[in-house]
């Protein structure tokens, strides 16, 4: 399902928990971002999508049955090296935090403000734009 501006930056959300995914969709819909938003409950479907479509930023859960957030983000980065990556987890784990730092992903522990997630994505997209322009 796509939302908002089709010409804007492509932002992909992935969470196997449908309640989480749906609540993210509702909140981001209310935010009226200038982005093209895609939501996937299955990381493999998300991966299939990014193989053929642009992906400027991705927000994913870490623990998912088919593929972990780390596995998914590695595949996304292989195709879209500049993609801004956020891992959103309901469980704080020191090892996950360290792995995020290693790969340059942003790690956020829920509960958090999705306004902060939005601000992080905006800053990440802006940085990528500046890098591209330089």
């Amino acid at each position: 399902m796509s939302l908002n501006d089709p010409s804007g930056a492509h932002v992909v959300f992935v969470d196997d928990d449908l309640y989480v995914l749906d609540s993210m969709r509702r909140v981001f819909m209310h935010m009226n971002t200038p982005w093209h938003l895609e939501f996937f409950a299955n990381p493999r479907e998300a991966l299939e999508y990014v193989k053929h479509q642009p992906c400027d930023a991705i927000v994913s859960d870490i623990s998912m049955p088919e593929m972990t957030g780390f596995g998914l983000l590695a595949e996304v980065r292989a195709r879209h090296p500049a993609a801004f990556c956020v891992l959103l987890s309901g469980d704080f784990c020191e090892a996950d935090l360290r792995e995020c730092e290693q790969w340059g992903y942003v790690f956020l522990e829920k509960p958090c403000s999705l306004n902060d997630v939005r601000a992080l994505i905006e800053a990440g997209l802006e940085k990528a734009r500046q890098k591209e322009g330089a």
């Binding site: 928990d17 309640y19 989480v20 609540s23 509702r26 909140v27 209310h30 935010m31 309901g90 469980d91 704080f92 784990c93 522990e109 829920k110 509960p111 958090c112 403000s113 999705l114 306004n115």
Partner: protein
Amino acid sequence: MPARPQFTLLLVDDDAMFRAGTRRLLWITREALPFDIVEAGDGAQALQVIQRQPVDCVLLDNQMSGGLGLDWIPKFLAAAPDLAVVMITGGGDERTAVEAMKKGAMDYLVKGSMTAESLQRAITNALEKVEMRKTLARQRASLIDAERQKVMVESLATACHHIGQPATVVYTILQMMMKWDLPPGQKQMLQDALASAESLVDDIHRLQAINEYRPVPYLASPGPGGNIVEVPAD
């Protein structure tokens, strides 16, 4: 020199001469087995001793005028489950020896061919078996307790995990609503709600620290052929 552990040994025989003979053999082994020796002339007297004071090992004769020693083993063990029973049988009476072991004796000796060495070996063996059984029981209890704790903590962590998303949505939406142009009364209501949401977020983060909780002792299942490791007592 460190203090040796002091054991109490109960000699049960209706023959005072035999008890004296056994005492002499135990005197020879006193360095290796520093026992306090208590005597009883029959099973009933022995049971009274066991009920009255801690006894580590019983040397129990089978053929006594007051009845078979064999029949007293279950009564002794009911009174003191960690008691190490060594049965003393007549020569060629393997059936009694087997029966004694079935009833919970840890070893047996043959009357008439007892030496200081065989006596020491049998007592040590019986005490070691009891100690091993106690260690296994302790380990089993520790593992069951650790497993119970693990399951509870996992349930708690899962519940905390599930609270995360609703709290995220509540917090985010309240922040968004605070940007609305509202009359002071409603603005105050939102401000109060937002303050509660912020406090909720902090509280949940503190609750999520439960992920770092590990039961002590936290032993992975050794699996088939795995080593059993003694859990150090506190």
